[in-house]
């Protein structure tokens, strides 16, 4: 197999560049749908004893709002029916109080108590998360730092193990994957919670893997190949490693696929982010990382000059 990837590399640059620009535009226009981990708020995962509906639950909250007065209105509720919950299981989300105070915990508890009085549910199958604005802001900060540190860490390691050009090519590919995946998360409206952040960071590390396989081969071929054109060496290397790049991604995708299908609701965002990311990552390690590395090196006659 010999696919002319290097000759057509400008096509890939255009496609990728466009994708990245579109992703950034989506991010600016639509933003990320932050989960309560990052923006604060409350989630009640509840299984009622009797069948219910979104409208009914909203009515319940209207009643509580009327009786007690709440810091949010029932219009602000996000109510989802849980699939496989026989119309009894719901996830109800409401915003966080503007500031953390000693009173908020009481409000959350009262809401549960009142809801239970109107529509009984079992405590055994109840999940309640309340995150205040303080913690939400902290998590956002930490998340950004974790992402920045990851990119820097990968860059440093690659710079140490490979020459500058290869490291740059890989980092371009990783950043490319990061933006496009974020764009995907934004447009699909995946709830951006800590598991999705974990998926993105894992992706940063994993997306490097396939690029390394190709770069490693280029490094080797430069030493042993009699071919004088560096472009041909790069193209050959990509072709030689094509099979394993696809296979390694496929096995990971198989595992992710089962997680996506049967892993349960709370892991969906994580699984879909990684699935998409692995596909983009595979594309970029074949069509972006090595070509960019080539651009930085230039097609000079120095195929044998460097180790």
């Amino acid at each position: 197999m010999n696919v002319q990837i290097m000759k057509n590399r400008y096509t890939f640059y255009y496609v990728s560049g466009l994708m990245v620009i579109i992703s950034i535009m989506i991010l600016f226009a639509k933003g990320l749908n932050y989960g309560i981990d990052f923006k604060g708020g409350s989630i009640i995962h509840v299984r009622f004893d009797n069948e219910s509906s979104e409208n009914q639950i909203r009515e319940h909250f209207k009643k509580i709002e009327k009786d007690r007065g709440l810091y949010f209105t029932s219009e602000q509720l996000i109510i989802q029916s849980v699939s496989g919950g026989q119309g009894r299981e719901f996830i109800v989300q409401y915003p966080a109080a503007p500031v953390d105070s000693a009173k908020t915990a009481e409000v959350h508890d009262q809401i549960l108590k009142d809801l239970k009085a109107i529509a009984p549910f079992s405590d055994e199958a109840l999940e309640v998360s309340n995150v205040g604005p303080t913690i939400g802001d902290e998590m956002k900060n930490q998340g950004v730092w974790a992402a920045i540190l990851s990119v820097i860490g990968i860059l440093l390691y690659l710079a140490y193990r490979f020459e500058f050009q290869s490291a740059s090519g890989t980092i371009v590919a990783v950043v490319h994957d990061l933006f496009i995946t974020l764009g995907f998360i934004s447009i699909i409206g995946i709830e951006f919670d800590v598991t999705v952040l974990a998926a993105i960071l894992t992706l940063l590390g994993y997306s490097v893997n396939d690029s390394i396989v190709v770069l490693d081969r280029i490094r080797e071929n430069r030493k042993i190949s009699k071919e004088s054109s560096f472009m041909v060496i790069v193209n050959d290397s990509i072709n030689q490693t094509f099979g394993r790049t696809i296979n390694t991604s496929l096995t990971t995708l198989l595992a992710l696929f089962s997680l996506l299908m049967v892993g349960g609701a709370s892991i969906q965002g994580f699984a879909s982010t990684l699935t998409f990311g692995v596909i983009v990552g595979t594309y970029s390690s074949i069509f972006i990382a090595s070509p960019v590395m080539f651009e930085m090196t230039g097609d000079k006659q120095h195929a044998h000059s460097k180790n």
């Binding site: 000693a102 997680l259 349960g264």
Partner: protein, 560 residues
Amino acid sequence: MKSKHNVTIIVVLAVLLFSVFYTLPSTKIWENAFGVIAPDEQVGVPARLLEYSAGEDGKSALVKIQVDKMAEIFNRAKNAAKPDDVLNNVAEMIRKTLVDAGFEARVINPDYENGNASIRVAGKTVDELKAGMASSKLYARLPLFLTSLFPGKKITLGLDLKGGIDLVYQVDLNSIQESDSIADAVKRSVEIIRNRIDMYGIAEPSIKAQEGNRIRIQLPGVKDPERVKQLIQNTAMLQFHIVIDQALTAAQLEPINPTSEIVIMKPASPQQQAMWFKLNKKADVTGRDLKFAKVAFDDMGAPIVHLEFNAEGAAKFAQVTGTHIGEQLAIVLDNKVHSAPVIQSRITGGMAQITGRFSFEEAQNLAIVLRAGALPASLIALESRVVGPTLGQQSINSGWSAGVIGALLVVMYMAVFYKMSGVFADLAVLFNTLIIFAVLVFFGGTLTLPGIAGLILTVGMAVDANVIIFERIKEEFRSGKTVKAAINAGFDRALACIIDSNVTTLLTVAILYAFGSGPIRGFATTLGIGLIANVFTAIVCVKLALDMYYSGPNAKTLSI
């Protein structure tokens, strides 16, 4: 060459033995053999410590459990529980299992001093009860010395899988008394919360002061999380005030002077109206004067909280009740009027009761918090996560099916694509998974839902190393090398590449571990262990398997 193999074989076997040793006690097989009951579900109850007898009424059967004899077994569990809790928990678990099996079972005669209790099953014979017990997983079926050979540790499940509570509070600095130092208030709050939780009886509490005057409380496996949350959150400031006036709105009680205050009495149900009380600002008696508090029942069988004051408190109480006969005395809890009974006569002897308006659980909670003492400051809940036990079980189930399906897909893919070598890689992946579990148990790591996702992801990623190696071996073989040389070259050439790629992923995983909390740490842990173990299983173990497989008559062709 041969001796080099021998060393590798010994190492691989040693790792295998270690992994089985630490994984086995967490499996279903183990559960079936040794039973599962204990407060922290660590060890089984041996059958010989159960005594059966017929009920004296002739219509029931009894099983008596003797807990003090089990002390030694329970102490093997990491956090030895207190005897009373052990008794309560064991009795309750046996009762529940019997009820699930269709028996009508009740716990009777708990004897905390001697550490035993009985469970009565109505309308059954002793033999029927025995059969019921035997069909449950309640007690050990194999000799206990077998269990004692194995580590007493089981895999720790995270709150998201086991159910439980994870709370972060901040001590409200505005509510601290001026004479109090902040650090001291935080420290005392931690102690008081610990006391309350201990009195309630929870197996493995973790209560820690954190930066920024925060307190983090993690209680895994709590069965009634909402109730425990209440137990922690209550400031439990108990005060008795003389009532000056009461009305339906606060405005009606105006004006107040420096010696009075207006306090709300919340309605018991949303249908009722709130009441407002104008009280003497000075508390006549407070919770600080308490000696003891416990739940009792009034003549109507309703739960009440019985209070006993110390000498000083008793004197104060006698004085205020003596001088205000016919007036109302408001019982104020955390700045809300709980009730305001009329003083009938002078109360001496330092005993009092708080009646009405609560369920048994609420009365029990109140007794505990009063006994443990009031918090020096109110707590602001920054974050609270409460997971009921059945939701966690659902997550385990779906995680398990995803894992099995994912593993099957990957295993089949490898076997189809790389034939015999693929099968070796599959075995290596299974080995890798086993190692992850064992290391988790060994280091006391926690398995969370994202952790399970990490485990599944590891299965997909772990074979990557072998894919890279196998492709390389194919290439080398095609270029004319012998089977042996191709295998050696394949592993040698791919090594750097595999280490590089694992290091970068490990790097981001380490950052995740450092930044993440709870569930995410669980993810970072399983994936991290998996990536490190991967270098061993994919390189050392698969190399050994291929070397051995191709050392004999198979050495001419490659099944790859």
